[in-house]
């Protein structure tokens, strides 16, 4: 019935027909054949650091005199850092991630950005979410395009899940609303599930209503599966007391239950550190570190661990110079992380130079879509050009 509804919808509207019809065609023609067997059980956990993470306080060029000159109140000295090499140190809070790095399971992608970087939170997130500098004008987010290309036959509503309240545009699909929830236990109707009947699939003549009916059907179908997965999940891992920690635990439960989560999205907010940045940012780093290292430890040594790739990004980095309020304003390039047992750890991209700034910002060296291309081709066996609209050279982190 699920399939019927979507097929019907696609026949109903020309826009939907275009977006929905496309993958079926490509699946046949694609070099990758829409995801081979080795890609079948894989999951991408996509973590978004909202607000603009200060890259210079995450991977710190501690020995660079330009850094020392530009940063006073947000400066990290070598002794406070987890030193990687002669140039870089990881933020002192990133203890767990540093051991992952040492174990070769953390990739740091440096200098990530895109041409003519936008310093607006919203516009820049739109670029990241759609993989296009045109932003929302291109329509859907990049995740539905990816999942449709990699798993053309997968119609399970849980193929993309956001754990949290606000769903990023990256998950926005033309034909359905994302599965999203904060707490699995109350992810259900009490007493008055609207229910569906066969006649439901007929278009009502009101596209907004048809879309909501699709959401309702997805909600009905996914409710029990998600609650069961969360309830049954047993883990020895001690997830930290944070919304992020809780969300990651749910992510692990969904992966463990194999209920079809191809992409699981989680947001951590609070990175817009215009004011009194040092403590705020360090605390955020600790939240990230504790969450991600517990998650990695939880999955390690299991099939789930081999089949899970975590990617962390933020909409932009921050200005090199501090502002007058012990904080930093919006900037451009910043680092990304990729982690998990399938990751080939190390440094990727290229560290931006502090002596060659682009109107006060770090110039990007590595297009973020190269990371996306890595996810498309190497992780899911999906054709980059179909998903991202152009070809980008993958990085070697998987």
């Amino acid at each position: 019935m699920k399939l019927d509804r979507r097929t019907f919808l696609s026949a109903g509207g020309s826009l939907l027909a275009a977006t929905l019809g496309a993958p079926q065609v490509h699946a046949g023609l694609s070099l990758f054949g829409g995801g081979g067997k080795q890609f079948e059980g894989r999951t991408l956990v996509l973590i978004q650091l909202a607000g603009g993470n200060d890259g210079l306080s995450t991977i710190v060029p501690y020995d660079d005199s330009d850094y020392a000159n530009a940063r006073t109140t947000t400066r990290h000295k070598k002794s406070e850092l987890l030193v990687i090499d002669k140039r870089r140190g990881m933020n002192g809070q990133l203890v767990g991630l540093k051991s992952l790095y040492d174990a070769g399971q953390l990739a740091i992608i440096e200098g990530v950005g895109y041409p003519d970087g936008v310093r607006s939170h919203f516009k820049s997130f739109d670029v990241w979410h759609t993989a296009s500098t045109e932003g929302r004008a291109v329509g859907e987010g990049w995740i539905p395009r990816l999942v449709r290309e990699a798993f053309p036959d997968d119609q399970a509503p849980e193929r993309t899940v956001h754990i949290g309240k606000r769903v990023p545009y990256s998950l926005h699909a033309a034909d359905s609303a994302p599965i999203a929830f904060e707490v699995p236990e109350s992810y259900r109707w009490f007493g008055a599930e609207p229910g569906t009947v066969a006649g439901d699939v007929e278009p009502s003549g009101n596209p907004a209503l048809d879309r909501l009916r699709g959401v309702q059907a997805d909600a009905s179908a996914s409710s029990k599966r998600i609650r069961d997965a969360a309830r049954r999940y047993k883990t020895a891992a001690d997830y930290p007391n944070s919304e992020f920690g809780r969300a990651l635990r749910v992510a692990a439960a969904l992966i463990d239950a194999r209920i079809g989560g191809r992409v699981i999205s989680i947001e951590v907010a609070g990175f817009d550190t215009h004011k009194a940045q040092r403590n705020t940012h360090d605390n955020l780093m600790r939240v990230i570190d504790q969450g991600l290292s517990t998650f990695a430890a939880d999955l390690r040594g299991r099939t789930a661990g081999d089949e899970t790739l975590v990617v962390v990004f933020s909409e932009f980095g921050r200005r090199v110079a501090e502002n007058g309020s012990r904080g930093t304003d919006h900037g451009r390039a910043g680092p990304m992380f990729a982690l998990g047992t399938p990751v080939k750890g190390g440094l990727y991209g290229k560290a931006p130079r502090l002596d060659r700034l682009e109107s006060g910002d770090l110039a990007f060296t590595t297009d973020f879509r190269r990371s996306y291309a890595t996810v498309c081709e190497r992780w899911f066996g999906a054709d980059t050009k179909t998903v991202l609209g152009a070809n980008y050279e993958p990085l070697d982190f998987v």
Binding site: F122, P157, F190, V215, G245, G270, N323
Partner: protein
């Protein structure tokens, strides 16, 4: 209330600034408006649509009353503002807040601050509830609708402002100017203490500027992205230096912090200050387009065509940014009633809650509405970002759709809070006893880095006024208890009895057969025309329940279980996808 505003002089100044042609304003857009209104189809559907969008819905009686009048009359009534509402009495900075705590010991200081914080949260919560009641009263529908719009447009959040009196002061300004002048609002917002605090202008100073306010002022409050350069942002940030406020909530210009140097903003040079920047912004063609576009998109639910945007942007500029001509013309525009617009907008949580109350003519405790809408993602005075709330389809995810149904069920007294949130309550109880590991509440991650965020979950915490560090365990358990449970529990606990009598309404309307009852419940519960299949399905449900009671069609109202059956049916109606649209 707190400071005198040279707003009137400012508006007069604008007249000359914008070089408006009065003649053009009279013969141009307005003439077109009148021509347009002649083609407007005025029926129950379009009247309800008008009230859905220009207010928060209407009861069937209100729709009938409006049908008997001319559209111009009804629109004029909306645009000129409705009944005056008694304002909330806002307590300014309290004696506690003024107190010098530098001599106090650490514990005493913490205790004092905690008391201040709790008292302030109570006032913020009470103020939100006052506004909810005002919206639900329908006293001044378009003003409330537009105030909600401006709250999301000129956004500030209590999370960062931390003072309810400043949030209330901003809200009062937006409310009084909501149908007035955009230019005056822009002027006021640049001098607004809550905004200056929210966007860090209180730390923006000469030689060390903070660009936060400058950027959002242009990107979100006036021009829209792409209509200024990064250099303009830096220059505007310099111009805004020194614009601050004092503890009384009065705007203060601090000369010592202001950068008196030369600046260039959007091509205009000079020793520019904040007032100059406002003038420059209002002169930009992009400003009229941005504001008109946002208003239309909010009210219609879809972006206007270029042609209509041109028309309304011109109208706004020609009227010196007065909003009444724009709103009047828009609400009488046949395009406002086109099929693409009617019944296709996903209602925001406030729309859904207030609209349901108004259509059902049912009073629900404002505290419940506050907490419920917050849980659905629209917490008044705490918008998620400076961009306000994303409207439309973004409101709906699988879980928010479920939660809307569940909250409607609680409101109608047919769903038990414990059923919905029981698991979370159990966990919270264990946490409070300390016999479970702290797995945390649902605080946003900022909560862990900024104590104010932790406070976010406690706006209702009236009984925490006197909390002390000794109560740490108890308090911690409480903090871990998800806000929605604590607060909904307080507002609509086991003692809640809904004030609605559906059986009486059926009797009064002389409806007794299943089909009649289903028709009534759907038309009362939905903001849109009833989809046919919904009628068939509700009829099936009603029939099933009636047959279980062993009653013949037409005799349901005589059965003692009748009211429960009707409430369950209404709960079902409000849980459907159709009930989420307006």
């Amino acid at each position: 209330m707190h400071f005198t505003r040279p707003a009137t002089c400012f508006a007069a100044l604008l007249l000359t600034l914008c070089g408006a042609s009065t003649v053009a304003a009279q013969n141009g857009p307005q003439a077109q408006t009148e021509a347009a209104s002649r083609r407007l189809v005025w029926n129950a559907r379009t009247v309800e649509h008008l009230y859905n969008r220009a207010g928060f819905g209407a009861s069937p009686a209100e729709v009938q009353a409006a049908l008997a009048r001319r559209p111009e009359e009804v629109v004029e009534e909306l645009v000129s503002g409705g009944r005056e509402v008694e304002p909330f009495y806002v307590e300014g900075p309290t004696p506690l807040q003024r107190m010098d705590d530098s001599d106090l010991s650490g514990t005493a200081k913490a205790r004092l601050r905690s008391a201040i914080r709790n008292a302030d949260r109570r006032q913020m919560s009470a103020y939100s509830q006052w506004w909810i009641d005002t919206m639900a009263s329908g006293a001044d529908p378009l003003r409330d609708r537009m105030t909600l719009f401006w709250h999301g447009f000129f956004t500030s959040s209590y999370r960062d402002v931390r003072r309810s009196d400043l949030m209330a002061q901003q809200h009062d300004m937006l409310r009084s100017e909501a149908l007035g002048s955009y230019a005056v609002m822009l002027y006021e917002i640049v001098h607004d203490p809550a905004m200056l605090k929210y966007l860090n202008n209180d730390v923006n100073k000469k030689g060390a500027s903070n660009e936060n306010f400058a950027r959002e002022l242009m990107e979100l409050f006036s021009l829209g992205e792409g209509n200024y350069t990064e250099k303009d942002i830096k220059e505007v940030a310099r111009a805004l230096t020194g614009m601050r406020f004092d503890i009384e909530g009065d705007y203060k210009f601090r000369r010592g912090h202001h950068d008196f140097g030369k600046k260039t903003v959007l091509g205009e040079k000079g020793r520019l200050d904040g007032e100059d920047v406002i003038e420059i912004l209002l002169k930009q063609e992009a400003c009229g387009r941005w504001v008109a576009g946002r208003v239309i998109e909010y009210l219609e639910g879809v972006q206007p065509s270029e042609e209509r945007l041109d028309f309304y942007a011109a109208l706004l500029r020609e009227s010196n940014y007065e909003l009444a001509p724009l709103l009047r013309s828009l609400l009488l525009d046949p395009d406002f009633y086109r099929a693409e617009v009617i019944g296709t907008r996903v209602q925001g949580p406030i729309d859904f809650a207030i609209g349901s109350m108004r259509r059902l003519d049912m009073r629900v405790p404002a505290g419940f509405v506050r907490e419920g809408t917050a849980e659905l993602g629209q917490e008044l005075f705490l918008p998620p970002s400076v961009k306000g709330w994303d409207e439309g389809p973004a409101w709906i995810t699988t879980s928010s759709l479920m939660l809307r149904g569940n909250l409607a069920g609680m409101m109608l007294g047919v769903v038990d809070l414990n059923a919905v949130f029981g698991d979370r309550m159990d966990r919270a109880r264990k946490l409070a006893r300390g016999d479970a590991p702290r797995t945390g509440g649902f605080d946003t991650p900022e909560a862990e880095v900024d104590d104010v965020m932790g406070d976010d979950g406690e706006m209702m915490g009236g009984d925490e006024m006197m909390e002390s560090p000794d109560d740490d365990l108890k308090v911690r358990g409480k903090q871990d208890m998800p806000k929605v449970i604590r607060d909904l529990k307080g507002e609509i606990g086991a003692n809640y009895i809904p004030r609605i009598n559906l059986r009486w309404r059926m009797q009064r309307a002389e409806l007794s057969r299943d089909a009649e009852i289903a028709g009534y419940l759907l038309s009362a519960g939905l903001a849109i025309e009833t989809p046919e299949d919904l009628h068939i399905r509700l009829l099936g449900r009603l029939r099933g329940e009636r047959e279980q009671l062993g009653v013949k069609d037409g005799e349901l109202l005589d059965h003692p279980e009748c009211e429960k059956v009707l409430r369950r049916a209404m709960h079902w109606v409000l849980s459907t996808p159709a009930a989420q649209l307006s």
